[in-house]
């Protein structure tokens, strides 16, 4: 029978290979990690907006007026160009709106994006979408192995449970060989600015029908919605239902870290709810938790519109024409953006030119 280990030399070789792979995150940290921007260019282009995130964080230098941070929901839910145009008109000067996101949800990922940005650029207002039920489990972000590197978040991860820290280390072991490739062969595709812009918009989903059905153009003018009704007013606001499935300790930890980051950089912070297809007919905005308390910023508002209000003038049979799955297609993106923009402009005016959030 062919032996699994046929000599001492063979056993030592196998030990060295496995031990090296298991300790590669620490070894790389000792040797010196590649520049932080390589993390973003190392994220495969198929996974969305990593290259655009890299440009926004590391290449652009000017301060931004509003920074949106979130998952793919925010990419397909908020039309940055429209808001930029409306805010410019309101303020009488050119404004800059930026967005950072990666596919899939996770507050660890959103913390990382916000932190990397604020370490390099100034934001006058940060707006974030919070996890929905699409975030399953309580473990590191699906792409964490792409952007979590050993030694980079020491103070951020020290207080996590042992189980969570092992999960993070597991992701780092999984991603370390790719991080090693980042030393040798940086991704040059991100130098194609058109490709970066296309990836950033995820525009390929703009004219896709619901779950592969035919795309049906629909009216994109929202109903008149009272401004104040789009802001949360405490945990007992009748427009909201904050009694959803709570986040686990891992993501609650990152929620608190996000709040701490906002305090550290003294940046006004707010949240936005992007309606999903499953909210059809709901008269309240479903939230998993009362987020201002979870992030530790009690005065931070949530901007949202209940699905039943947003689609008040839309036939129930046509609402699916505004989605391609849980995400908006261009029908929904434009309808929602036009509806929520008055609240965004009001928020910016209050937070940046008026009283701070905290």
């Amino acid at each position: 029978m062919f032996p699994a280990i046929w000599s001492n030399r063979h056993a030592v070789a196998l030990i060295l290979v496995i031990a090296t792979l298991l300790t590669l995150p620490m070894l790389m940290s000792l040797v010196g990690l590649p520049p932080r921007d390589r993390v973003y260019s190392g994220i495969r282009v198929e996974t969305g907006t990593g290259p655009l995130d890299e440009r926004e964080i590391f290449e652009e230098k000017d301060p931004v007026d509003i920074l949106f941070v979130g998952s793919s929901l925010i990419v397909r839910g908020v039309d940055l160009d429209y808001i930029q145009q409306q805010l410019s008109s309101r303020l009488g000067r050119p404004v800059k709106i930026a967005r950072l996101s990666l596919k899939w949800q996770g507050l660890d990922m959103q913390y990382m994006l916000m932190r990397d940005f604020l370490e390099h650029r100034k934001a006058r207002l940060v707006i974030m979408d919070m996890p929905t039920l699409a975030l399953i489990g309580d473990s590191p972000h699906i792409q964490a192995y792409r952007w979590m590197r050993w030694g980079e978040f020491p103070r951020s991860t020290a207080d996590l449970s042992f189980r969570s820290r092992v999960a993070i280390y597991g992701a780092q072991v999984l991603g370390a060989p790719r991080q090693l490739v980042n030393y040798i062969r940086p991704n040059r595709q991100i130098r194609d600015q058109n490709l970066v812009a296309k990836l950033g918009s995820q525009s390929e989903y703009g004219t896709v029908g619901y779950f592969g059905g035919p795309f049906v153009p629909e009216p994109r003018t929202p109903p008149a919605i009272p401004l104040e009704s789009m802001f949360s007013h405490g945990a007992s606001d009748s427009n909201f239902d904050f009694s959803g499935q709570p986040l686990g300790p891992y993501h609650q930890y990152w929620a608190r870290s996000i709040g701490d980051l906002a305090k550290q950089y003294n940046v006004p912070f707010a949240m936005i709810h992007i309606p999903e297809d499953t909210e059809k007919g709901m008269t309240q905005v479903p939230e998993r938790m009362y987020w201002p308390a979870v992030v530790g910023l009690p005065a931070a508002p949530i901007l949202a519109i209940p699905s039943a209000t947003l689609f008040r003038d839309t036939s129930p049979t046509e609402i699916n024409n505004y989605y391609y799955d849980q995400h908006f297609n261009d029908n929904g993106k434009e309808l929602f953006t036009r509806a929520i923009t008055p609240a965004l402009l009001d928020l910016y005016t209050k937070e940046v030119h008026g009283a701070p959030v905290q």
Binding site: F2, P3, I5, W6, S7, N8, H10, A11, V12, L14, I15, I18, A19, L21, L22, R44, E46, T47, W104, G137, S139, P140, H141, I142, Q143, A144, Y145, R163, V166, A167, Y169, G170, A171, V173, L174, P177, R178, V181
Partner: protein, 44 residues
């Protein structure tokens, strides 16, 4: 072809099995979707 065959040192074999056990255990902690996504279309 005949392979060189000398019985490996039991200590080395023990270390190797311990490392394999550690690797398998660590895998159990990794976000499952990270592994499946990695396998399906984000392999290196």
């Amino acid at each position: 072809m005949a392979l060189p065959s000398s019985k490996p040192n039991p200590v080395l074999v023990g270390v190797l099995f311990a490392l394999c056990f550690a690797a398998i255990t660590l895998t159990l902690f990794i976000t499952p979707e990270s592994l499946s996504v990695n396998l399906v279309y984000q392999a290196f």
